[in-house]
Assembly symmetry: C2
Homo-oligomer: 347 residues x 2
């Protein structure tokens, strides 16, 4: 794959370190770097092209930010994109403040990116990030903020590359997948394989996404939004929740391909990190309504972590997706956890 | 369909009503009766062949017992069958004591049984049962004990045919399907329709059953049973929970057909009974680990029922399937609820 040219936007630093930073005093690199590492299920070391975004205050400490399997490196808005997937929380003046830190994020690797191995692991993603940290001359990141699969990769990063980070902030992700969640993802993969085998890939991927949506959102939210009765349409009854699920399924098919889905879904279920191996100070954030990553698993993770660990529990009707939806509740928690990150006094 | 000949096993009654009943003093009818009713989504009244089992003490009051959509009329063991689906709780001397009451149960009707209507409703099942009660000369049943879909049909029976029953006992079923559960069943039906359209019906039905299993069982049970890591086999990783699900899927395909599954699954989601319309005294039994029928819905049902209503909450790791698994806990609850049923002194 040809390396994507990095867009580098670099402006002169403010003269006095204490002076308020203007919005334009930001740097943004959005490009590709070739890195080398040995994949967990590969054996031989491989070279892989990693697509990354690195943006924020040019002289500030770097914070890695990674989301779920369907999130990409575009965590915040920028010059050539209107929106990032977490841009309420990652922006100038936001909880992850681009005027006082520099955010690094990558597109998840899939097996075809790393020599066509059978499976990609959370450790592989962590190894690619660690190699990228070296390539970019960062040395040590201030924090790794990971949500969902990103939290799993954060744990793998802290366990395998302890010298490359100072702290962890993990939302809705744990040291292991819950076996019930593995069961639900296994069925999703079964649906996609059935679609691939029968030439009905789009329909199957949409159905798998529909199933995933039933695991992401809270039970109360479903109850409140979809209480109405069915409608007779096109020869059968349609339930209100079906229209919602079908819409979500169609949108997913437009932006995701089945092989990528299979690989990253499996990667969640292969994740297995011993919390005892992690010494970095860690802030965990969990949601009681999250059925995909039960709070009990975050409690166990907190107990077993090798370093200091805080667990913040936030009430939300949004289940696992609370890490995307509860921006108002999350902002102060993230600010507190990243407090050490702000090397430049705030305006 | 030709009427199945009823097997009638009838032995002389004990001479003195107070004498202990011998095991052989039981009657069993297992046959088919033609009944007439107007299906909810049909318009015209239809005649339908109802396959039923009616067994127990010949002079005792009748108790209707119905289970989930995959249960059949064979609720207890008998002369020609080694096991019934609830035979720990329905037997001589058991909580539903065949020596002091007589149990009636039917095979669920599907659209092809009732004139090929588009959909079958819980009211249709209740109407068929009510007509059967008349056909058999029962007059009024002592209780309707319904679990899961059977509880929904019990509510429909009590709302539409109040003169035909004295009391209701409902386990893990409510006046409405929870919208999240509707979402999960909608995806199951989508999988089966994909299978029918692509000629891979068996695989699809098995996958739908796998998904159903993830909704029936408790989260803690999955966590305890399937904590081990994956195995590499046949070209991909297999997770312990997948072996369990695949086994359950294969077994289901052997005994169920896709059209029946589609119709009964949809029937659950079409269920809608106003609790205020029900005046029969009701015992509700719910399980906090039941994610398919949340306890909150049983609490709402209890509040809204028109007659007296008791809610028994039983702890169990087995989720929705607790009504099948928690026989030791359920026995005293059922005995208490059916107390009025025992017209003959116990030996």
């Amino acid at each position: 794959m040809p390396a994507e040219p990095a867009t580098v936007i670099s402006l002169p630093q403010a003269a006095a370190p204490a002076a308020p930073r203007r919005p334009s005093d930001l740097t943004e690199q959005r490009g590709t770097r070739r890195v080398a590492f040995a994949p967990k299920y590969g054996g031989e070391p491989v070279e892989a092209d990693v697509r990354y975004l690195w943006c924020g205050a040019p002289d500030a400490p770097t914070v890695i930010v990674q989301g779920g399997i369907s999130a990409d490196r575009d965590v915040c808005s920028g010059r050539e994109r209107a929106a990032g997937w977490w841009d309420t929380l990652v922006a100038e003046g936001a909880a992850i403040d681009l005027s006082t830190c520099r955010v690094l994020s990558i597109d998840w690797l899939v097996p075809e990116d790393i020599g066509g191995v059978a499976s990609v692991s959370s450790e592989d993603q962590a190894a690619a990030l660690a190699a990228l940290v070296d390539e970019l001359g960062i040395g040590r990141v201030q924090a790794f903020v990971g949500s969902s699969y990103g939290a799993m990769v954060g744990l793998a990063f802290a366990a395998r590359h302890p010298g490359k980070l100072k702290s962890l902030v993990l939302l809705a992700g744990a040291h292991r997948p819950h076996p019930l969640s593995t069961a639900q993802r296994s069925v999703q993969r079964g649906i996609v394989r059935l679609g691939l085998a029968s030439g009905r890939t789009g329909e199957a991927l949409a159905l798998a996404r529909q199933l995933a949506m039933t695991t992401y959102r809270g039970s109360e939210e479903f109850s409140r939004r979809f209480a109405a009765g069915p409608e007779w349409r096109d020869g059968r009854f349609h339930f209100p929740v079906e229209d919602y699920l079908e819409h979500a399924g169609r949108r997913f098919v437009e932006r995701f391909d089945p092989e990528r889905f299979l690989a990253l879904s499996e990667s969640i279920d292969l994740h297995d990190v011993a919390p005892e191996d992690i010494s970095a100070p860690t802030t965990l954030v969990g949601f009681p309504s999250d059925r995909l990553v039960p709070l009990a698993d975050l409690c166990e993770l907190q107990r077993r972590l090798g370093g200091t660990a805080t667990l913040e529990v936030l009430d939300s009707p949004y289940g696992h997706d609370a890490f995307l939806k509860e921006t108002v509740q999350l902002a102060p928690v993230l600010r507190q956890a990243l407090n050490d990150c702000y090397g430049v006094p705030k305006p």
